[in-house]
Every structure is written in C-alpha cells, then in structure tokens.
C-alpha cells in the first residue's frame, strides 16, 4: 500500500500495485480532513474476466458538503478504452465505486485508471438560496466559480448562472492505476491446466515451458505412469523427481511400482473433496511435479524398506499414519527449496 500524505488537507492513496498516483489541482490548506482513492485490477483465469475496481472515499466531515465521485477507465496496452464508467455518492454513503469488467486475452496487458473527485452538493442552507461551501474547497481549484466570496460560504442563486457555472469541485483530482499482464497462451491443454492453478489458489503458477509431454530416456517409468492428471498429454515432471526415483530404486534394490505421480489441481481437488477437505487450499507436491506414490502391496516390510530408500535419496516421506500401508508417498520438495516437516524428514 502506498500512501501519500500531502502537507495540505487532502490525502489520497493508492493501495494497488503497481499503481501510479498522480495528483493534480491546486489545493489550499483548510481543515484536517481526508479523501482517499484506490484502484485495483484482477484477472480470474477460470473465466478470463478482468475486473477493474476504483473507489473514492471521504471522511465523515466531508460527506456533509461533498459527494464522493469516481471515474474508472479500463485500457489496453495501446491506451484504447475498453470500458469506462463513473459513480457518485448521492446518498451520503461516504464513498463511490465503479466496477468494470472485460474478457481478457492471453498475452495482453491491461490497465485500469481511477480518477477520484469530490462533487460539491449544492444546498440551500443559508437564507437567500446560497450555496454553502463548508470547507472552502472552491478556493483550491480552478473551477468556473466566478464569485466565491467569504471564507466558508460563497453566495449565489441557483438560477444565477454567472455566480456558479458548475457545482463540481474537483478536490485535488487524483489518478491511480493497476496493471495486469496475462501470460501468453500455449495453444493446447496446458492453457486449461494453468488456469486451474490460478482458479484453485495453488501457490505454483506454471507457464507453458513448465510442462512436458514425454520423459527422458533414462527415466525408470513411462510418461503415462508418471502423469496421473486429467490431461494425458501434459504434466509437470521435475528433474529432481527423475533423479530421486532412480536413487530410491537403487537404494531399495528392486523394481518400484508407481501408483500416482503428477496431478493437475482439479484432480487433486477432486481427490481431496471426496475425502471431505473444506476451507483449506490444497498445495500437494503432486501438483508441483516432484512427488510420487509407490505401491507396497500392503506389505509392512516393503513399506519400511521403500520409505527408508526414499529418505536416503533425499526425499520427504509421508508417515504411514497418514498415507496408509498401501503406498509410500515420496517427494523432492527440498530440491525446490521447500523444507519438509521433521516428521517427514530423515
């Protein structure tokens, strides 16, 4: 969150990143009050929808005399307007917000601009049909107010256009923006898999080259043995997995049988949902491409031996109280710089 405190009365800040904040307009010291504005832009990879949001807020003191006003513009990388709109707080809520949506395209960059203003609500609160500019905002901007007299008040008849051409008072107008670049499309099932990582909140955000469609010649297992996802043609399979499997089998001294390898996030979620997982973001190493489950044939001695062989190969190994006897789960997250629990570690 970036905050910019003016030495004057107006405070505007942007809380989206990256957001450029440009302040314009003349200001005059008045009272200790604040107006705020911020703009965000998010992309839902599940639906391809870009959601731009901009909001202007005012302190309660200001709400009596000014209405929050916001203008939002969603632009492409060439500055072309894709969508725009504005909103004003006409009910004294203290804020105004605008939400813009657009279907984003892979490989493109988008920017959302927010312009934050105050709008002086004209009121007939002093005898003689006067406008009442409670905080004297008319002094610190260049509106077409011809005759703003008095420190707190300026006078004029509603029908007397020379006195006040517009009731709009731009309160040190500010802009901020947020930018999103959508990764280029792979043009195959990988696009759908990548979307799953975003949509299901997995920490890993893979790109097209993260996936492979075959295994190296020295792999002990075939591609289809290692890819147990919903997508038969693509999988994330890290080198640490191939090496780890080779060393584990060498330590074990006999052929290993894989029962599960790479899983895309939807597959992982389906497995966990069947088992009643709720309210918890699944971050299984099977989604990262460095995990494998090896069959034990429900043999206790085999379980111990395979697990021990995996640990000696630098794997993190799930305790049997969790995995159950029918398989040993091994992963090489430590090659990815991720520490495993003491209970999983040799």
């Amino acid at each position: 969150m970036k905050q910019l405190l003016l030495p004057l009365a107006l405070v505007v800040f942007a809380r989206c990143s990256p957001a450029a904040l440009i302040l314009r307009g003349r200001t005059t010291p008045t009272l200790g009050y604040s107006a705020y504005g911020y703009t965000t832009l998010t992309f839902d990879s599940g639906t391809d929808v870009l959601v731009g949001y901009s909001e202007t807020d005012m302190d309660p003191d200001l709400v009596e005399y000014y209405e929050s006003w916001v203008i939002g513009r969603l632009l492409d990388s060439n500055g072309n307007s894709l969508s725009s709109g504005g909103a004003r707080d006409t009910v004294g809520a203290g804020y105004a917000s605008i939400t813009l949506q657009y279907i984003g395209k892979a490989g493109a960059t988008y920017r959302m601009y927010g312009t934050h203003n105050g709008y002086m609500g004209a009121c007939d609160c002093v005898e003689g049909n006067n406008y009442y500019d409670g905080y004297n905002e008319s002094y610190w901007n260049s509106q077409d107010i011809v005759d703003a007299t008095g420190f707190f008040n300026f006078y004029g008849d509603l029908n007397d256009s020379p006195v006040l051409k517009t009731p709009t008072i731009t309160m040190g107008e500010s802009y901020d923006s947020a930018t999103i670049s959508i990764p280029a499309a792979c043009g195959d099932d990988r696009d759908a898999i990548i979307k799953e990582y975003f949509a299901l909140g997995v920490t890993l955000h893979p790109v097209c080259p993260s996936f492979s469609s075959s295994v190296p010649p020295d792999s002990l297992f075939t591609f289809s043995q290692l890819n147990t996802s919903y997508y038969p043609d693509w999988a994330i399979l890290l080198n640490s997995l191939y090496t780890g499997i080779r060393v584990t089998q060498s330590n074990y001294g006999s052929t290993l049988t894989p029962t599960s390898g790479y899983r895309d996030p939807r597959k992982e979620k389906d497995i966990d949902t069947q088992q009643g997982v709720r309210n918890w973001t699944v971050n299984s190493r099977h989604e990262y491409g460095d995990a494998i489950d090896l069959g034990t044939g429900n043999s206790q001695t085999k379980f111990n031996s395979i697990r021990s062989a995996g640990l000696k190969a630098g794997a993190c190994a799930e305790p049997v109280g969790q995995s159950g006897l029918n398989h040993v789960h091994l992963d090489w997250r430590q090659s990815d710089g991720v520490v495993c629990s003491a209970a999983w570690l040799r």
Binding site: F303, G321, G324, L325, W344
Partner: protein
C-alpha cells in the same frame, strides 16, 4: 466479627489467586479462532493453527499444544478405522499435521511449556525420522510416554516407540545423553519384546534399533528370533531373518571395536 472478615478476605484472595492460575485460553483467544479450534472440519482447525502461529503469546502456544494433542487422537482414530488419515481427510491433512508438529517442536524448546514435549512424544512417529531422533534426545523426560506408546494397541505407535528407544540407547552408549540403569533396562526390554510383536514392522523397527544399540546380551534373543519367527509371507520372513543376522553382526563388530579401544 473480625475473624469472619479475615476469613472472607482470605477466601476472596484465594479465589482470585486460583482464578489467575487457571488456563485462560478460551478467555483470551479471538472467538473466530476458538470456534475454528473446536470445528469438526480439519480445514478450520488448520486455519486456526495458522492464526495461532502468528500470535506470540502464552495462550496461543498452549492452544497449539492442545491442538496437537487433539489431532493425535483424530489421526489415531483414522488409522484404526481407515488405515490412515489420507483415506478419510485427504493428503493435505498430513501436511497440516506436519506443520503443527513442527510448531509444537519449536514451543517445546522453551522450558515454559513443559507439556509440549509430552504431547509430542505421545503423537506417532516414523522410527527412522528426524522427529524420532529429536524425541530420543529428550531421554528419560519422555520415557514414560514412549513406554506407554510401546504398550498400546496401535501398531504404528509401538513401531515409533521401538525407533525412539533404539535411538535413545544409541545416544546413551555414545554419551550423547545419560540414561539411568533402570531406564536402559526398560528400553532394552521393550526392544526385545518388540521381536515378538504381532506385526512385522514393529519387529522390523526393533531389529533396526538393536542393530544400532544392542549389546552381546541381546544376541541370544536375536538367534532365537532367527530360528522361530514366522511371517505370513515367506518374503517377509526371509527379510526379517536377514535383518536379525545383520543385527548380530553389528553387535559383535561393535563389541570387538570396544574391547580393542579398551
């Protein structure tokens, strides 16, 4: 009259002091965390763990210790009914339990929380894990908890106990920690008893422990094991027989090197 007032005053002070001594976890933690801690859904409890891990207070640490104690019961029930937590709570539960164990291990390093090490010792472990070795370094402090594990009806707890005791005896012989004569004898007795366990992996873990910590007095029991142990699978029987043979060789080699060094 004065005596009555005095008695009342003493009673009042006593009640205040008593209240101060009570656990204040439920009074201090935010209500959302409290309700998550008591949720039937482990995802909520995991979120409570994350919230508590951010807090640097006595109450949050006590709550984490209590949570691990609760999860040990949950995991034990799942193991006995379904053969493991993955089958009923998904693979992520194991990750959560691992994180919780790590957090409580850090708490146990602080002597202000003596309960932590006992709760950890009562949770299950893999006999060859870092966690088992870490537990073993606590020696006689946790011996009663490990003895209890070795006697309960959950085979993986007995397997864990065999691993921890083997490590403890090994540390003792290498002077990394000092066990009393009684503790040493108790640990040894449990390992020898493990050779007659109803499951092959408790026998397996006991053999591993005797390989690294046994002495010549254990050889007779190992020989008897080689002769009489029977497994359902011939493959397992042969595997364990070879391990017993290896244990005897290791013990002899260790005894020989010790006599040379003397």
């Amino acid at each position: 009259m004065r005596i009555e007032k005095f008695v009342l005053a003493v009673a009042f002070v006593f009640s205040v002091v008593s209240c101060l001594g009570q656990p204040t976890i439920l009074a201090v933690l935010p209500s959302s965390v409290k309700s998550n801690l008591n949720s039937e859904n482990w995802g909520d409890r995991a979120n409570a763990m994350l919230a508590l891990a951010q807090e640097d207070s006595t109450d949050s640490r006590e709550a984490l210790i209590t949570l691990l104690d609760k999860e040990t019961e949950v995991a034990n029930r799942a193991y006995l009914r379904f053969g493991g937590t993955d089958a009923v709570y998904g693979e992520s539960y194991g990750e959560y339990l691992g994180q919780l164990t790590d957090l409580v291990m850090k708490i146990a390093d602080n002597p202000t929380f003596p309960r932590a090490i006992h709760v950890l010792a009562r949770s299950s472990c893999e006999p060859d894990s870092y966690f088992a070795r870490w537990l073993a370094m606590h020696g006689e402090t946790i011996l009663p908890d490990i003895v209890r594990l070795s006697e309960n009806g959950i085979d993986i707890d007995r397997r864990c106990a065999a691993g921890v005791l083997g490590e403890m005896l090994s540390n003792d012989s290498e002077r990394k920690l000092i066990l009393s004569q009684t503790a040493r004898a108790k640990a040894k007795m449990i390992l020898i008893r493990g050779l007659k366990d109803s499951t092959s992996w408790v026998k397996d873990a006991s053999l591993d422990s005797l390989t690294k910590s046994g002495d010549p007095t254990d050889i007779a029991a190992l020989k008897e094991f080689m002769l009489n142990n029977r497994e359902k699978q011939q493959e397992d029987q042969e595997f364990l027989r070879k391990k017993a043979d290896k244990a005897i060789s290791s013990i002899r080699a260790r005894a020989a090197s010790m006599s040379i060094s003397k």
